[in-house]
Amino acid sequence: MARFAVRRLAGAAAVLFAVSVLVFVIFNVIPNADPARQLAGRTANPQLIASITREWGFDDPLPEQYLRMMQNILTGKVISYETEENVDERIVEGIPETFSLAVGAAAIWMFFGILFGYLSAVRAGGPLDRGLTVLAVTGISMPVFWLAAILLNYLAYELELLPAGGYVGFTENPLEWAQHLILPWVTLAIVYVGLYSRVLRSNMLDAMGADYVRTARAKGLSEHRVMTRHVLRNSLIPIVTLFGLDFGALLGGVIVVEGIFNLNGVGQYAYESLINLDLPPIMAITLFGAFFIVLFNALVDVVYAFLDPRVKLGSPAR
């Protein structure tokens, strides 16, 4: 177990290192992005740019610049080239909104994904299954940002049923918090509801043919008990894996949804920084996102071993 944890940690650190180098390289090959010019602002003149270049060390060798950047990010001292505000503080400010968005969406997609998948499998081939399958495939095929735009226009602007974007803190007013987030939650969750219900359906159909299910039936268990206790429980294991990976990677999907619903979270910050070619926040946010992906990957392995006793930690990975 200890050896597994150490190997896993070392692997995670190596991946994060590679990710940071990759982002640094991507943004240092862009010819238009001269950070000194960015820092100098509109009134830039060659002398000012030259002095900023010297002061901030933009003419140092790239590995040196990279090390300095990483050191600043990890110690919370990194400064944006565009707005000159502290990047780490700005990310921390955005966390409540992004976190509220992600957790709410995840709860919705797990609940409806499992519910729809279960109903579909139990009624396989029937009209309910067909209807749910149509819904699921439509969900998977949905351009999320488009759905967000449409919902925002018709439900918020025209019918005025829900607020048109913005954020209210949970501690300020829980009801308004939920009202403001319901559209972003739904748009973010819809793809995953489709995906999870289909994965669960096919897992359950596979499991229904297994010997242990026949044994359970032979023992005289009720159909309901066979389905929930035996088929569903075993079919949920891959869903847990999937959930870990998808939840960890949610920062990507959050970018567009936050942008459309005007949530000032980490995703929105990522988008602004990209448009401004602002390297320090892009590095920090990408690392932040990659950290969660790597973290949840590792968590999934541990949870998996816990749920499925046949899996032994420390044995060669998948």
Binding site: V29, A33, T138, P143, A249, I255, Y271, T286
Partner: protein, 337 residues
Amino acid sequence: MESRSPWYLAYRRLRRNRVALSFGALFVAIALFALAAPLWASDVAHTTPNATHTTETVEVGGEQREVVDREGGPIGPLWLGAGGRFFLGADGHLGRDEMVRLMYGGRTSLFVGVTAALITVLLATLLGLLSGYYRGWVDGLIARVLDVVWAFPVTLLGAALGLALALGGLRIGPIVISGDSVWVPILIIGFVYAPYVTRPVRGEVLALREQEFVEAAVSQGAGPLRIMFGELLPNVLSTLIVFFAISVANSMLLESMLSFLGVGVQPPNTSWGTMIAEGFELITSSPLLTVLPGAMLLLTVLAVNVFADGLRDALDPRAKRRLEVHAGQTEPEGTAA
């Protein structure tokens, strides 16, 4: 008893799947719609996707109407009122023909989707075959590289690369790709999705290479290349076909997302994604400009996904039979001839 090739059996199973076939037909119809863009533009609408008509008027039922009114609002759908000009109205204050743009946008979206999916599948095949066949350090090296790509949130990586290349263009040896070329999003999307297809391909190759037919090839003196491409590749082909179809759907979605963020398809090219982005700015006054390209995109991706499902069922008869048995519609394989 006549023997049939597995491909023929798969084809027959697909032919019986009416849902998959009708969505396949829908996809073909959408593709034809997009391909007909130059015809519609030159013979019906008499314009081009980027031609502006800001100060012009059109004659509708004997009455002259402005394409763009004083406040900059575009004209709505005229259907055939002006002989097919501005069939779906104009696209905003520039007064471009929405129908023409929708058709040309479809061309770009489909082209990016299909080409990026090809790149994804080619990369995945190559990497999957190499790591599944050689195992050892080759496998380890490829797995580490994929882990790194995997650790990026897809949209963030796509957007970062898109921005970098849109500004700087790309130079690979003698090939120069300018920043506004559609090849920039194509290469990015093809690259970003490759790890997701490589893993399953590698898994299949790992299992296949232990089988007798590979051993037989080795004992005949076949080299690694012949084993990989002559023996293993044909056996993973059905998997690759299904992944190609799914990749087309995913690539089209990612393209639209990147274009919406402004880091995908660049002007003068138009895609459904860029059209949604432009329409979103006018969503309260002309919601149709957002609804239309998105609905086309949704329909196309839906058609591809349903057809891909049908393909998978046809190519993997075990999966299909399982489902049919549970649905109580068991159909004995190979009786209908």
